[in-house]
Amino acid sequence: MITFESVSKLYPGGTQAVTDLDLQIATGSFTVLVGPSGCGKTTSMRMINRMVAPTSGRILIDGQDVADIRAVTLRLGIGYVLQNAGLFPHRTVLDNIATVQRLLGLSKAQARTKAHEAMERVGLDASLATRYPAQLSGGQQQRVGVARALAADPPILLMDEPFSAVDPIVRLELQQEVAHLQAEIKKTIVMVTHDIDEALTLGDRIAVLAPGGVLHQYASPIDILARPATDFVASLVAKDRGFRTLSFETLTGLGTTTLPVPGPEGLIDMSALAPGWGVRVNRDSGTAAWIDADGAVFGPHPLVPADASLRTGLDAVLASPTSAALLVDGTGNIGSYFTLADLGPLLRPNEQARA
């Protein structure tokens, strides 16, 4: 548990970076601090590892005031990922990643073994180990930065706009991998971003900060979307707000229709849904292809897992030529389909939003 107790930061010259911040970050949670530039989000995060000292208030990690822990000791136990990776240009990828273990007193050989493991975990090819940072792409550098932070297996990970300097495609890839990684390793992650979409995608708790470091809302993504606490939060999530809410709704209660038995060559006759149409399932790729009366093939279209979000279900239906999508149940069985009409009852205005 990381606790901010009425923390303020006033920079010399009168800039109020953080104002009376109270925040409790649960162990194992992925917390995102989000807000425009100048909202004190980075300053707040850097107070956790004492890179910035608060003007007043305290920060506690598991009940212990960080001010009472030696800065170097504290930082060795907290992983840190920077916006532009912040790699050491004179060290190879492997030695960059091994840095923290070397600081912790491991031998060079041991530290390198751990570094190899960390490279694997973040999806870096082993052949890159002997390269220098300048020889890598931006996305690869960022992976090295994440590997360096994770290599020593710290319980806490701080990330300062880790994906803002890479192109959108690589960013999406890295976001997905970090989400995966977090599901596996369950660190306490605190990430800073100005991108509300990134915050909503990755965070399980989001702290929205306004200029001057004023906390406007600290809640789950669905609460931020459905019930913005202030006008400031509402303006931040205004774009596609209703649609984005669907990402956090499930397909529970969805009415479905049982699929007919497949005919010869696996073709399923869908005449009941749309005259002349059939569908064929490819189990290996988890996709379906629609075939019309003239034999023209449309697809591949994704199959929808029963635990998918409402947004995924709606998207599959909208993309289908027959406005229907096949459902995969919890046991991997593909036995039913649903249509736009079936989704209708689930798409009612959000009750939380009305409340």
Binding site: V72, R75, L76, Q83, G86, F88, R91, V100, Y132, A134
Partner: protein
């Protein structure tokens, strides 16, 4: 004059003994080495301190300017008058001209390290001494070597003045030749000093290249 110089080089006796060319070359290198080493001992920690902390930049600039403006021959003569003949006065003059380039190189090298890299080093748990030794100095190496190279060249060129106060070195040929109106011998000294400076510069250039592994890797 050139013929006289060539004749001097051709004469075997001029290559042997205490006043032979190898001995004078040795003396010259010895004075230069002492001066650069002493200057480095002073300038290195000061440059690292100012570069790392960012405090004292005004002091650095003004001190460098004052040192650069000092006339070496004048300083040496003054010191000889105060302290008498000896190795110290010329050495002190040489140290004073070697300090500014070393100081500038070390300071610029350390201060120009990407602040984000230093921030990263600190944030992952390096203490200041480690940041200096493991991050700032290795990255500053090209500029440090550049400063050292400049200092060595200036000192080697200026070390001729030691002969002005009856010490050895390649300056002997120049001052002795001037006293005897033997311009061939003056030229011998000038050519040897120039040659020495060029050879050292070349060697230092190669050393600087060899000592930047990261840079070499990027070039490949």
């Amino acid at each position: 004059m050139i013929n006289e110089m060539l004749a001097y080089f051709a004469q075997g006796a001029n290559w042997a003994g205490e006043s032979g060319i190898p001995a004078r070359l040795g003396e010259h290198l010895w004075y230069s080495f002492l001066a650069v080493a002493a200057a480095a001992v002073v300038a290195f920690p000061v440059g690292v301190f100012i570069g790392h902390t960012g405090t004292g930049r005004v002091f650095l600039v003004s001190a460098s300017n004052v040192l650069r403006a000092l006339p070496s021959l004048g300083i040496m003569t003054l010191l000889v008058l105060l302290m008498g003949i000896g190795l110290l006065p010329p050495l002190a003059a040489l140290v004073l001209i070697a300090i500014p380039p070393i100081l500038a190189g070390v300071y610029a090298g350390v201060a120009n390290v990407d602040p984000e890299v230093v921030d990263a080093a600190r944030a992952i748990g390096m203490k200041d001494s480690r940041i200096i030794l493991q991050v700032e100095l290795p990255l500053a190496l090209p500029l440090i070597l550049g400063g050292l190279r400049g200092a060595i060249l200036q000192v080697v060129a200026t070390a001729t003045i030691a002969a002005y106060v009856n010490l050895g070195g390649l300056g002997r040929y120049i001052f002795d030749g001037l006293a005897l109106y033997d311009y061939g011998q003056v030229l011998v000294g000038a050519v040897l000093v120039t040659g020495l400076a060029l050879v050292l510069d070349g060697l230092l250039g190669l050393a600087a290249r060899a000592l930047s592994p990261a840079r070499r890797a990027i070039a490949n």
